[in-house]
Symmetry: D2
């Protein structure tokens, strides 16, 4: 046979599950988008079309909804662990399960009497507004023995309106860029970080707290770094997380440089003293790198974008 089958996987993608938990009158929401990918002894279905080893993708969808009831959704990570374990341990042909989850955050709506709009004692206990900031992500992979948990976030747009420079770079015959000593630095953070928890024998991280803290350190490092290049800022963001969170060994960033060009107002007799910017769409610089705990091996794939 001149052609052979290589790596393959299948499952139901983008199962949108919303789980409401009722604590008396106070409701809680978990709002997830769950994608299942299963691998194993799947040669036959590719070569001959025999589905004898194929658990239908429809069944993997049903399992997501059933598990939201049976196990609840404590965190996206914990939910993914339940699912991955189930597929690998209950189906002989399935050797590896990968669960990817996006999570959308909600906050409470305050009642008429509250002073603060969203946070306070007088919230309507079942009314929510979607936060709409970053999307939280996780990816759980299980091969029957070892776990790999890579969590992250995307769509988090940040800006420093000063404390950024760019100069001293290579000039070749195609270089026209002028050096900048006070520029806007803005990016839309995509990040994935790998936990060093890999075994049921070890104690699991507190996934909710770890996410909150990782995100906080990321934002603070962005804000507090006086930047000579976006690469430097990226490294500061990564190393602060590795240094602050012992449960994280590796983090990869994809940071588009969202260019804000100072508009030339001189033709109109005006001086633009770092006040008026054109926010450009395309093209954009794209800076990507991994930051690792020394002594560990990188596992997060290099590609976080198709461009």
């Amino acid at each position: 046979m001149p052609t052979i089958l290589g790596q393959n996987q299948y499952g139901k993608a983008e199962n949108r599950v919303v789980r409401i938990t009722r604590d008396g009158d106070t409701h809680h929401i978990k709002d997830l988008n769950v994608s299942v990918a299963l691998s194993g002894d799947m040669d036959d279905v590719h070569y001959s079309g025999s589905n004898a080893n194929v658990l239908p993708t429809d069944t993997t969808k049903n399992t997501v909804y059933a598990f939201a009831k049976e196990h609840g959704i404590e965190s996206a990570e914990q939910f993914g662990i339940h699912l991955a374990r189930h597929f690998v341990t209950s189906q002989e042909p399935i050797k590896t399960a990968r669960i990817r989850i996006e999570e959308y955050a909600w906050e409470r709506i305050a009642t008429s009497d509250g002073n603060s709009q969203f946070i306070g004692a007088d919230e309507v206990k079942h009314s929510f507004v979607r936060k709409g900031q970053e999307t939280r992500t996780t990816q759980i992979t299980f091969d029957g023995e070892k776990w790999q948990v890579i969590s992250g976030l995307k769509d988090l747009v940040v800006m420093n309106s000063t404390s950024s420079e760019f100069w001293g770079y290579v000039k070749d015959k195609y270089t026209t860029l002028k050096e900048a000593y006070d520029r806007i630095l803005a990016t839309e953070v995509s990040a994935k970080w790998r936990y060093n928890w890999t075994s049921d024998d070890a104690r699991m991280p507190n996934w909710e707290k770890s996410y909150e803290q990782t995100r906080k350190h990321m934002l603070q490092a962005f804000a507090e770094t006086y930047s000579l290049s976006l690469q430097q800022t990226l490294y500061q963001m990564g190393s602060r997380i590795i240094n602050s969170r012992s449960e994280v060994d590796e983090i990869r960033f994809s940071l588009p440089n969202k260019h804000h060009f100072l508009v030339d107002l001189e033709p109109f007799g005006l001086k633009n003293d770092n006040e008026v910017y054109f926010a450009a769409d395309r093209p954009y610089g794209l800076i990507e790198a991994t930051v690792l705990r020394d002594g560990t091996e990188p596992q997060i794939p290099v590609d976080m974008t198709n461009l």
Copy 2:
């Protein structure tokens, strides 16, 4: 000539302008997307291609950036008023100017010492994260005499996890829906409200405060209405705004009913006690209506969507 020209307008759309204001070390951002549409004596350019009356769209773009410097951006509405007045009063052939603006909100990033993550005294004074919730909008129209200001918002996703019913409706031969006595009610609010300020002789509303209060009443009415239909909730949201904000005479909503279907878990021997939902994409109910102050005439166009 068997064909004639009807209504026409032109201008530069989607000028992305970011304005930084520096109050010592403390910076402020306004982040806008500004679209200009001009109308007037434009027959010739359509019939013969003569551009003698045409101020280039490129010039309207330049004007947006120049005005961000000359006038600053106190609010989206005030900025649009400056622009509309300029085009109508400075260009004889231009009889009407319509400025549409989208505004994206940012919040500050807290420093390492702050307890609260985003609000507190210890913010880095030039570091921001995009809020990412609703997009604020405004549309300013000026014909040389009268102003029309229609502000609004879109992309604001809200949910009540209970206190919603739907029953007692018409049943025809195509009706299969079961009545619901406790359902999720979720929507993505698009709203446009018209101010009754129309003349330079009258005192202008406080645009920033008006937006904040209108949004607050909208959210509270959504949260506090025990709903028998999304139409009822819509009307409550609108009437609370009209009753609370004397500067607003009319509001139109486009509210997709973001269906959350209770998943049938009985095949798996599980009871779904309003806990696990499938969040559907399409199709969706779409509820649209105008709420008006009694005695006023509607002016907001009916169409807020193309579907």
Copy 3:
């Protein structure tokens, strides 16, 4: 009561229906996205939440699918006419129905033996590839007596790589644009045209042929017009359609000027003789106008975009 209800409408939006027709082994596809909006005696549901006059949006969805079987889908227009008539004539409280439809075109896949890839005698008779060019649209409105049919298209991207100039325009203090005597003219056509068929007593147009011919005239007029402004091209496109298609009385265009900027290669010692362009995203000129048969009244709403 200080607030009152204004115009309102409701229904199920974006019902995705695919209809397969089998002519022996040869299959045919109609692939539609159907949105229903109903208006009438709907005060109660807004004021009190009573659904006594409300046919559920779920029922309007069911009707779309049932009618795809009962009536087939001869054309998007004819299908919308069946639906609109049904809602208005079968439900007493419903006074007006508006059906909006998007249609996606498919073409056949040729077999291995065919020389031509997609057109030929040897097609697999049930295999299709989505054409992916423009989206065809229609909007049917019926009030129990008169019909209004507004069809159109969107997402049709066209370009002339020469035969376009732009000069002789107004210069004010904010004008920096240089005149152009040979530029690229590119746009993404959105168009809506109104048929003069309004009554069941008159003979209906051949909707499929009319669409094909209208689209053809639009493209040819774009290609064959030596353009001094995009407005002039727009008018030529519109008037050629009105002059060629007696069933169409009015057409409105929304034409973004998709700027292709000649790149300055002089810093690299290169001459750019209208060869290398930067295709910009935002901002863009936006040219909108209606072209009418003389003696008719415009009915197509001015707004075809939210920007």
Copy 4:
């Protein structure tokens, strides 16, 4: 130092370049979206912010436009090869360059006299309409010695309206799916194939012809396979390409199963004889696999999607 830098790359992404070639009155278009990613001795810029080894992303952008003039754009692949070679050979710190390109196809607009609308002798020689079907892609990687070329396509939507079954699968306690003996099979093809050309010493493939033929075999295999599972169809598509195109050694597919559910019309007294379908959005089955020439090693990364 407890943290270290891992894999990193940078460059300008999404440079939109349109190249017009004039052959007398007959113009030709190449319309590309070019993304540059460079790697090499970049530790300093991450650790200290020193840009001494950094060719600015702005320069990489300029190079794209200059090369469109200097070398022309014979094919996306050839253009990417020129760029990758330049960055690696002209900049000592740069060890690897990866160029990713999307290409958008255009077809000519016929004149008024042509019978066929788009193909014929009487085209306007400078007027084009964007084809709008699949997006062609390529990725060129060069490390100074060896080349890797991975081309592909995405957004190509195909459907068989019959000749597809799905039965004989595993049933567990969460399985509710009914077996299907005549279903619609539809997918949106994303594919990447790797060429075995790796060295300047070997003769380069004809990139344009290879793309056209690979696409043709892919479509024909989809059309001509009687399918018992989407996996089987995928494998047939891949193996036909490997068997037909000696220049291709490996292909990876990501095929969402675009579910078309037969609508239950029995409640309305209607029989749905494979005629009326609901085209669902989410969730969807996602089938991904690599097909290889026997004896070769896979190189295409497993991840073609983030879900």
